[in-house]
């Protein structure tokens, strides 16, 4: 047992750190935090990663991946979070691309992957429907074959950033079989197609990221079908597993913890600095202890993956604990800031706390979703009960 990095890993860490410090400029950072130009900032940042060749660590090397070991990926993620740099927008690079890579044909790979690497297409994920959330396989959006097209009718909901998207990858029903998981297909749909309508859904963080996407007789060429008709569920499941492993967010939580400690050095209560208050310290350590345990849980899963395993149902454990810790930190940050966390004012205004407070509030409110999406924590518990405990 040992947890030391090799000399090569340490050299790699130095290189990554240098990259973030040079390329993730204060200007970019400020605009990312401010949050009004989501798409512009994301594309600008992703171009820099692309230029460096680091845009797609999860892809095979020959298609544009980095060829990094799991430990190198871990180092990259850690440094990214330390630098406060945003993750890439996942829908193209981390969600649809792995499916195209594994299950798509050569033409599809040639057509879509380079554009995803260069952030030329913005993707969104069309899985959930009004009637099928946790029970995803019950989805009803219908695609009927008409010559060399599918005709799609139905509605998707909670589609993150559909308002910016050029493409949507969808699960659609192409057949009705005894099992609802059969008869689902994986279809790529151009958002500019006639009959696609995007309706905004405003969320409790006073932001617009969610949408309803309605399909009214949308004609989709059959060459946009991934793999076999009616086999989409298998492909989607592979992708959901992928989504689940990147969700512990240890480095992010570590960074948040450090920021809260820093804030608490400047915030006061009737006894003096908040950070010196034993009650506050216990709140912090309650979370930090959980986070330390999570970090080693995460590393254990990582180590088993280096040995060649894919992450099993224990990845659900990372998701549950990871998101619970994220939410506890979001709450503590708001309380550290105090009444200003309730302010909707986003500029720094008279008082730096307006800005701090407003972004803490936004993160807290949106953060409620982390235990809901990507397979809710209840569903993850069901997975552990069944697949790990054999109940």
């Amino acid at each position: 047992m040992d947890n030391a990095f090799s000399a090569a890993d340490i050299e790699f860490q130095r290189e990554v750190r240098e990259f973030f410090s040079n390329e993730f400029t204060p200007d970019l950072k400020a605009r990312a935090q401010e949050g009004s130009d989501v798409k512009g900032v994301a594309i600008e940042w992703q171009h820099k990663l692309y230029e460096k060749g680091w845009i797609a660590p999860g892809w095979p090397k020959e298609l544009g991946g980095t060829g990094w070991s799991p430990v190198q990926k871990f180092i990259f993620e850690t440094e990214r979070c330390e630098a406060g740099a945003p993750d890439v927008v996942p829908f193209g690079l981390k969600m649809v691309a792995p499916v195209i890579i594994h299950f798509g044909n050569d033409e599809q790979k040639a057509r879509f992957l380079p554009r995803i690497l260069k952030s030329e297409d913005w993707w969104c994920q069309g899985y959930s429907e009004p009637g099928s959330g946790s029970d995803l396989a019950a989805l009803q959006t219908k695609a009927s074959r008409d010559g060399d097209h599918y005709v799609v009718n139905g509605a998707k909901i909670w589609t993150t950033y559909a308002q910016y998207a050029d493409w949507i990858f969808c699960l659609v029903r192409t057949g009705n079989f005894e099992k609802k998981q059969q008869g689902i297909s994986f279809l790529l749909i151009d958002m500019k197609s006639e009959g696609v309508k995007v309706n905004p859904i405003h969320s409790i963080d006073n932001h617009h990221s969610l949408n309803e996407v309605v399909f009214d007789n949308v004609r989709v060429p059959v060459e946009n079908l991934i793999g076999q008709e009616n086999q989409g569920w298998t492909y989607a499941k592979a992708l959901l597993a992928h989504e689940r492993t990147s969700i512990a967010e240890v480095s992010n939580s570590k960074r948040n913890l450090a920021e809260i400690i820093e804030l608490a050095k400047h915030q006061t209560n009737h006894k003096g600095r908040l950070i010196d208050d034993p009650y506050f310290q216990s709140r912090l350590s309650d979370i930090e202890i959980e986070l330390m345990a999570l970090e080693y849980m995460d590393l254990r899963v990582l180590a088993s993956m280096s040995a060649g395993d894919t992450p099993g149902p224990e990845a659900s454990l990372l998701k549950i604990k990871g998101t619970e810790i994220q939410q506890a930190l979001q709450e503590l940050r708001m309380e550290t800031i105090g009444a200003y966390s309730a302010s909707l004012r986003q500029d720094s205004y008279q008082n730096e706390l307006h800005k701090e407070g407003s972004s803490a509030r936004k993160e807290y409110m949106y953060g409620r979703a982390a235990t809901i999406y990507g397979g809710s924590n209840e569903v993850q518990r069901n997975v552990i009960a069944k697949a790990v405990l054999g109940l």
Partner: protein
């Protein structure tokens, strides 16, 4: 022993329930909140006409002469209404603090104006460094003629932007953290030297930061001796806010139970999953705990034989549970609604935010639990 509201209290509650059914659906509330001032002046006039604004005030000032129990009764209903009208800043905070002050002339002048709806008020106690502490005061007051001039800044003054009058806590002697040496003043909202920077809060209410530069002010407490009476007033205010919170908790739990009965996944209502049933049982119990402590606190505060220690212990216990159990209830309400819980369209998120505000602005679990410890074991 009787832990129920009496007939008059039920009538008061009913009048609020009835009016809000007709006039304050969630969509109608949104219209009210969308006014530039964040609420409807017309509704405010109606609240006055219906006598609601008179409830906590003594009869000698034209009030209903209600007890803290009467105030709690109506606050529960206002909590369910999620009113954006300035009930808390004007009636509860300004009215509560003013009632506990010693300047009879000012009380005789202003309380009737609160009751008839013509005066909006706010209190400016907390400062950027003070968190929830009312002795940590740096705003200064100096004698000028037969009045005072105030200098300093106050943060997140609820309802401050529209207030005609603001009660300001300022230091007249002593060091920054001394309890002796703070005094209470009243200023005009638009007096010379007042700058008010308004902003909206997450629950739809409005607030402002207040900067005072040589602002003329009238003393309304005994000189240097505002701390004790203010603490007493804050006790009732804390309980009124706790009552508002129980109304919200009750509503959140009801809404969530109803939703899970109608939402189907895997071919069945999600309420049929035992994992979720137990969660709703827990939030139900959390609500019942808070309600029980509220009832206990109300009895204690209206009992002549109660000791100040006992009352203080109950209020801190109540507010600690409001914060902790409120957090649980709010979190679970959103979680069990799934994606729907994240939408601005649904009232759930708005109730959760108001519940959070009560703790963020006037004392969180840490604050009240420390207060409890000091009284109980200190």
């Amino acid at each position: 022993m009787n832990f129920e509201f009496n007939e008059e209290q039920m009538m008061l509650k009913d009048s609020i329930i009835k009016w809000s059914q007709d006039n304050y659906s969630f969509d109608q509330r949104r219209v009210s909140a969308d006014n530039p001032e964040g609420f409807s002046r017309a509704h405010w006039a109606t609240f006055a006409e219906l006598g609601w604004l008179s409830v906590p005030f003594a009869e000698e000032y034209g009030g209903y002469g209600g007890s803290i129990i009467d105030l709690a009764a109506i606050m529960q209903e206002f909590g369910k209404m999620l009113a954006t009208e300035p009930l808390v800043p004007t009636m509860v905070l300004f009215g509560g603090v003013l009632s506990a002050s010693s300047n009879e002339d000012i009380k005789t002048e202003l309380i009737p104006q609160i009751i008839d709806g013509s005066l909006l008020g706010a209190v400016a106690i907390y400062e950027p460094q003070s968190r929830f502490d009312m002795s940590n005061i740096t705003t200064s007051a100096s004698v000028e003629g037969d009045g005072y001039l105030l200098n300093g800044s106050k943060s997140v003054v609820l309802g401050g932007a529209v207030a005609d009058k603001i009660l300001v806590l300022a230091r007249t002697s002593g060091e920054q953290n001394d309890e002796v040496g703070v005094s209470l003043f009243v200023i005009d909202g638009n007096a010379d030297g007042v700058s008010r920077n308004a902003f909206e809060l997450m629950d739809g209410q409005q607030a402002c930061d207040v900067v005072l530069q040589n602002t003329p002010a009238t003393l309304v407490s005994e000189l240097d001796q505002a701390y004790g009476p203010l603490m007493d007033a804050m006790q009732s205010i804390s309980v009124a806010l706790a009552a508002e919170a129980t109304g919200i908790m009750e509503r959140l739990n009801l809404t969530t139970v109803e939703y899970t009965k109608t939402r189907k996944q895997f071919g069945v209502p999600i309420s049929s999953f035992q994992a979720l049933q137990h969660r709703m049982v827990d939030t139900f119990m959390a609500y019942e705990q808070v309600k029980s402590l509220l009832v206990g606190t109300l009895c204690e505060l209206t009992d002549d034989k109660s000791s100040p220690e006992r009352a203080s212990k109950l209020v801190s216990a109540l507010r600690t549970l409001v914060a902790k159990n409120g957090k649980l209830i709010g979190d679970e309400a959103i979680q069990l609604h799934g994606g729907m819980g994240l939408t601005d369209e649904l009232d759930v998120g708005h109730y959760v935010k108001r519940l959070m505000m009560i703790n963020l602005m006037f004392g969180n679990a840490d604050f009240y639990q420390q207060q409890f410890n000091e009284v109980a074991y200190g």
